[in-house]
């Protein structure tokens, strides 16, 4: 579903990604680990067409992102670390706008409320201004947008950082549900524990290169923490 | 401590290019404006001086002719261009510089430069004063909007406070840095201006010019200091540097652009001035009724210059006519000019809220290009006209024809022309100017005090971080 083929990205003289190849199939949760600046977010940005690759190809559902970014964006949903919304509008108004942008359809209030409930936002909060929302609540609206879009792939950038344990666990459950529906998930994280818990594949990035690509079988008999630190030290 | 803070701040202006770019452009503009102003002033001054001289020569060289014809031909007087008009041409473009002194009527000062210019003139006059009044505050805003707000966003403000730097020291330091920033840009301009003023001043009035120049510098220093403290106050109060910048820009726009026009409308509303039609027709009506009255009383005739009055009486009649007219002219022109001055005074006091109005008035006053000094010239010119009229009528009375039927046949000679003194106009001294403009200093000082108080209020001992 999500494919990066031999992708490099330079920012001036600085090489942020170096010949990275990575595939995420439907029903897979791919966790990308790595230090700050390793190139994880750059990779996500490439799938979103926020930036162009210097060389190599990025594909979504078999189509090259660069060819028709608008159509590839229809298949994906993006949830950044901070889901940012319009503070002066309510959660449901934000969802209505983004869902309409994403699908080209108008959703009824009932549909929107159902989406928010599914994403875990209490119905009572839906009409409050987003400026009063906590980070977790905003993220739930972000998830609701992804649900409304019925995306085939999810791009998550540090989704659990800064969430309280309860919210993080709720989020993991939602991810598992998506995986079960056959959604391909690419998520970056610093949280080794979370990665081990939810990920079906794990990649480790260092200085723009993918230095490890582990399947869930590999994981069962390796200590992820040791492995990670080994790579970082190398 | 304060010096240290100022130095760091100043280094930042230099490093981030603000001083180089914004400041460089400003510097270039000011020096250009002064160069242009200097060239214009020295050219005008020389030309008018020469013309004034020539005009009197020609007056003296007149052929023999009837005194009233000489008075009709009259003479021209030219307003001298004061040396400080290099810095601030003031109302110069909108008032004339030449008066043709003719018989019977007080003339207007003619030839406004703005009438020889295109509509672009209405965008403003390019001068050092304009730049400092309008653009320098913007420059201070650019330098200072993030003085506190920016450091708060960076988190360096927490750092500074944790080191035990007092917030007031920070305020004075930042004020000093802004003063240095703007000062560096203005120094070359000040040097050029000082040189120009010294060179262009008449030797006898060098002290006067120097004092005016110093006071002008003081006035602008106070004006810019006001801006500095307002900028720092807003920067300290604003929740972010963006809010600080937007609020300051809004203040600037209202202060230099909007308010002066609104105040000008308002002052016109409070002290309405007549249109040219009204003024001319009121003046004519008054003149006519006063003249008729005088003719009835003095000569017992109902119409002026009629066959009932023997020609030998025309000299006296001329004098009577003129003298009656003087009062009426003084009344009408005086009222009009008083209205203008009241309008301006009102706007000057509005300077308590809109300092640019106060500094503009003060700057023109000190530069010798304000309305008070223009009026002084107009009055002096009219006085000269009356001197000419009176000498001519007097001569006509002395040479009234004993036969009773001659008037214009009489011709005076050069001796009479020489009785008219040359028009020796001295621009008002600094003392006169200060009598009119002390309020400008008072207003600016009051506003400065208020601005400092505001800055102190918004930079309390425990600065919100």
């Amino acid at each position: 579903m999500l494919e990066a083929l031999n992708v490099s990205k330079d920012f001036g003289a600085n090489r942020a990604l170096d010949k990275v190849t990575l595939r995420v199939k439907p029903g897979e949760i791919y966790c990308l680990l790595g230090a700050n600046g390793a190139g994880k977010t750059t990779l996500i940005n490439l799938f979103l067409d926020f930036i162009e690759p210097t060389s190599g190809e990025v594909r979504i559902n078999g189509r090259k992102v660069a060819d028709d970014p608008l159509s590839t964006k229809r298949d994906i949903a993006y949830i950044p670390e901070q889901v940012m919304l319009y503070g002066v509008l309510s959660g449901i108004e934000n969802l209505k706008y983004f869902a309409a942008l994403a699908t080209g359809e108008r959703h009824s209030r009932e549909q929107l409320l159902a989406l928010l409930t599914e994403a875990g936002l209490p119905e009572a909060a839906a009409d409050g201004r987003v400026s009063t929302y906590s980070k977790g609540m905003r993220q739930k609206v972000g998830i609701a947008i992804a649900l409304a879009k019925n995306a085939k792939a999810l791009l998550l950038d540090e989704p659990t950082s800064g969430l309280d344990p309860k919210a993080a666990s709720e989020f993991s459950q939602l991810l598992a549900k998506a995986r079960d529906r056959g959604v391909a998930v690419l998520t970056t994280t610093h949280d080794l524990f979370h990665a081990k818990q939810t990920g079906t594949r794990i990649g480790i990035m260092k200085q723009g290169r993918l230095v490890a690509d582990l399947s869930s079988q590999d994981l069962s008999h390796t200590d992820l923490e040791t492995l990670y630190l080994q790579h970082m030290a190398a | 401590m304060i010096r240290l803070i100022a130095q760091r701040e100043f280094t930042e202006f230099v490093r981030d290019g603000r001083l180089l770019w914004a400041g460089g452009i400003m510097l270039l503009l000011i020096v250009t404006a002064l160069g242009v102003g200097w060239q214009r002033q020295s050219h005008l001054h020389a030309e008018r001086h020469a013309a004034q001289h020539l005009d009197y020569e020609d007056w003296l060289k007149q052929d023999e002719r009837h005194p009233h014809d000489a008075a009709h031909q009259g003479m021209h007087v030219f307003k001298p261009e004061p040396p400080l008009s290099i810095i601030d041409p003031g109302i110069g473009p909108y008032v004339g510089s030449t008066i043709w002194l003719q018989a019977h009527r007080q003339s207007e000062v003619k030839f406004r430069p703005a009438q020889d210019a295109t509509g672009l003139q209405r965008f403003g006059t390019f001068s050092a004063a304009w730049l400092v009044q309008i653009l320098a505050p913007l420059l201070i805003i650019v330098f200072g909007f993030n003085a506190f707000a920016g450091e708060r966003e960076l988190g360096t403000l927490r750092q500074l406070m944790s080191l035990g730097v007092s917030s007031r020291a920070l305020l004075w330091g930042k004020a000093l840095a802004l003063a240095m920033g703007i000062g560096v840009l203005l120094v070359p301009g000040v040097v050029v201006a000082a040189a120009a003023v010294v060179i262009e001043s008449e030797p006898g009035r060098l002290l006067d010019s120097a004092l005016r120049f110093l006071m002008l510098g003081l006035a602008y220093a106070v004006y810019l200091a006001i801006t500095v403290f307002v900028v720092l106050a807003v920067s300290a109060r604003a929740s972010s540097s963006r809010v600080a910048l937007i609020s300051l820009l809004a203040l600037w726009i209202v202060g230099v652009l909007l308010a002066p026009r609104v105040m000008s409308d308002l002052s016109r509303h409070v002290y309405p001035s007549p249109s040219r039609t009204e003024f001319a027709s009121d003046l004519s009506t008054d003149l006519k009724s006063e003249h008729d009255k005088a003719w009835r009383e003095q000569f017992g005739v109902s119409t002026g210059w009629g066959p009932d009055l023997p020609l030998s009486k025309w000299g006296v009649a001329l004098q009577v006519n003129d003298h009656v007219g003087y009062g009426v002219l003084d009344r009408h022109f005086g009222a009009l000019w008083d209205t203008f001055e009241k309008q301006q005074r009102m706007q000057e006091w509005a300077g308590l809220l809109i300092p640019v109005l106060a500094v503009r008035s003060l700057s023109m006053g000190l530069s010798g290009t304000d309305f008070v000094q223009h009026r002084d010239f107009s009055v002096a010119a009219e006085r000269q006209r009356r001197v000419v009229q009176d000498i001519m009528s007097h001569d006509l009375i002395d040479h009234a024809d004993p036969l009773g039927d001659r008037h214009f046949a009489y011709q005076a000679d050069k001796e009479l022309w020489a009785k008219v003194p040359p028009f020796d106009y001295q621009t008002p001294s600094l003392a006169v100017v200060l009598r009119h403009h002390w309020s400008g200093f008072a207003i600016l000082s009051a506003v400065l005090a208020a601005a400092v108080a505001l800055a102190l209020l918004f930079v309390p001992r425990r600065l919100p971080l």
Binding site: I51, Y78, P80 | E47, R261, V262, S264
Partner: protein, 485 residues
């Protein structure tokens, strides 16, 4: 689908701008300012119309009185005073019968005061040389001239860009800073379309406000604007204002296309405004006056004096001849169609005629110089849209330099006709007759043709639209290249 996205963003922007109170605040404030400006304009122009009406009434009264007096003189009932004698052509051609030449206010006059507070809109034309009246100026406090007037043109040229900035300085940068831009662009939506929709809602509201309020006020309070020609002019006015507004929106798009902070955008925008609206026009004015300098007025004064002295010498004898009214009161009465014009008025007439002829070359130099400056402004004005629009709005309001030049040329022609009419009567001592009063030249204002006005305006509109295209082109090109992050 595509058009729908546009309207979706459009409607959403409207909601956000209303919810965060930007739109109500900006529009209310702008409406107040432009409402004040147009009120100012309407009041001022009414006063000007009233002033012209009053001098015309006075002129008609005077004319009637003159004819009346002439009838009484001819009937032998009245012996007039020497200097207010309706039978004397030198009197009538001078102050007694002098006609007012005036420029009527245009239908759109309240939109821009232009030069009208400085250059008089009427002159009293007599046989005296133009030197005597052409340099008059409107009575106005020079301080106020310096401050400038608060008219609609001021609001459009100076303030409209600032209001446009207030709405759009953070068009994209705010979304970038809030992080919503990433959210938006992860949807199937291009940056170009997003920006277009955002600009559309802003431009739509503020430009509607800028155009509708003054136009509606004029249509209601100034019935002159309801004819076809004026409606065309109003439409042209709206086009000019729209083009100018779009220019500044395009500038705002460029500023936002570079991924800088909102504060940096605000600075860049105000900087561009300072340069284009404040500095460039003033510098161009300076450049134009250097390139095509006004001939010296001091020189003109000196020359006028010398020419006058020359004339006085030439007609010395005539000037020395005395009035003979005291011993021959009959001279004040016409006789067999003749009126003995005394030597002094004759001399005065000839003196004025000669001064006029001699000074003409000098005056032509001033006219040529001003036209030279004007053509330079027209050519170089394109470097700032503020200049194009300022001049365009003044021209449409009929208060621009061009129309005043046109007026002054007509006055010169009328003046020449006036003198021609009186010259034989004064020099040949023909008495004024009632028929003469009917045949006297009357002032008729010839309006500039609408076609000329429109062609001038379309040039301006094309200039601005070209600027809009260039600036918007750069902006959107830059947007295509800029990233969301």
């Amino acid at each position: 689908m595509k058009a729908r996205t546009f309207w979706l963003v459009f409607a959403h922007e409207a909601r956000v701008l209303i919810a965060d109170r930007t739109l109500p605040l900006v529009l209310t404030l702008f409406a107040l300012l432009i409402g004040y400006a147009i009120t100012n304009g309407i009041v001022e122009i009414r006063a000007r119309d009233a002033a012209v009406a009053s001098i015309l009434t006075k002129q008609n009264e005077r004319n009637a009185r003159n004819i009346d007096q002439l009838q009484r003189i001819n009937a032998g009932i009245e012996t007039p005073a020497p200097f207010s004698n309706a039978a004397d052509p030198a009197n009538v051609g001078g102050g007694l019968g002098g006609r007012f030449a005036y420029v009527p206010t245009s239908a759109l006059a309240p939109m821009a005061f232009g030069q009208s507070d400085m250059i008089p809109n009427y002159y009293q034309v007599t046989y005296r040389s133009r030197v005597n009246f052409m340099y008059d100026s409107e009575i106005e406090n020079p301080w106020n001239l310096l401050s400038g007037r608060f008219d609609v043109a001021f609001v459009i040229v100076y303030l409209l860009p600032l209001f446009i900035f207030a709405m759009s300085y953070n068009l994209l940068s705010a979304e970038r800073e809030q992080g919503t831009l990433r959210m938006l662009l992860s949807q199937p939506l291009t940056l170009t379309k997003l920006v277009l929709a955002k600009v559309s809602i802003r431009a739509g509201t503020i430009l509607t406000c800028a155009i509708l309020i003054p136009v509606a006020a004029l249509l209601i309070f100034r019935p002159e604007t309801r004819d076809a020609v004026s409606l065309v002019q109003l439409a042209a006015w709206a086009v000019l204002v729209c083009a100018y507004g779009l220019f500044w929106f395009a500038v705002a798009v460029i500023a936002n296309a570079f991924s800088r902070s909102s504060a940096a955008n605000a600075l860049v925008l105000v900087g561009s405004w300072v340069v284009l609206v404040l500095i460039v026009p003033v510098l161009l004015n300076l450049a134009v006056s250097v390139a095509s300098p006004a001939p010296s007025r001091t020189e003109l004064a000196t020359q006028t004096r010398l020419i006058t002295v020359d004339g006085l010498r030439r007609y010395q004898k005539l000037f020395s001849a005395d009035y003979r009214y005291s011993d021959k009161p009959d001279l004040l009465l016409p006789k067999d169609g003749r009126f003995e014009v005394q030597s002094r008025p004759k001399a005065a007439f000839m003196l004025q005629r000669d001064v006029e002829a001699d000074i003409q070359k000098l005056l032509d130099r001033f006219d040529a110089q001003l036209e030279g400056q004007q053509s330079l402004v027209d050519r170089w004005g394109v470097i700032s849209p503020a200049i194009i629009v300022h001049e365009g709005l003044a021209a449409l309001a009929g208060n621009g330099s061009q129309r005043y030049l046109h007026f002054q040329r007509q006055v010169a022609t009328f003046h020449a006709t006036w003198k021609q009419f009186f010259e034989p009567r004064i020099l040949e001592s023909r008495a004024m007759t009632e028929a003469d009063f009917a045949a006297m030249p009357t002032w008729k204002w010839q309006e500039e043709t609408l076609r000329r006005q429109l062609s001038d305006l379309s040039v301006r509109a094309i200039q601005i639209l070209a600027l809009v295209l260039v600036v918007a082109g750069i902006g959107f090109w830059r947007l295509k290249k800029s990233s969301a992050v």
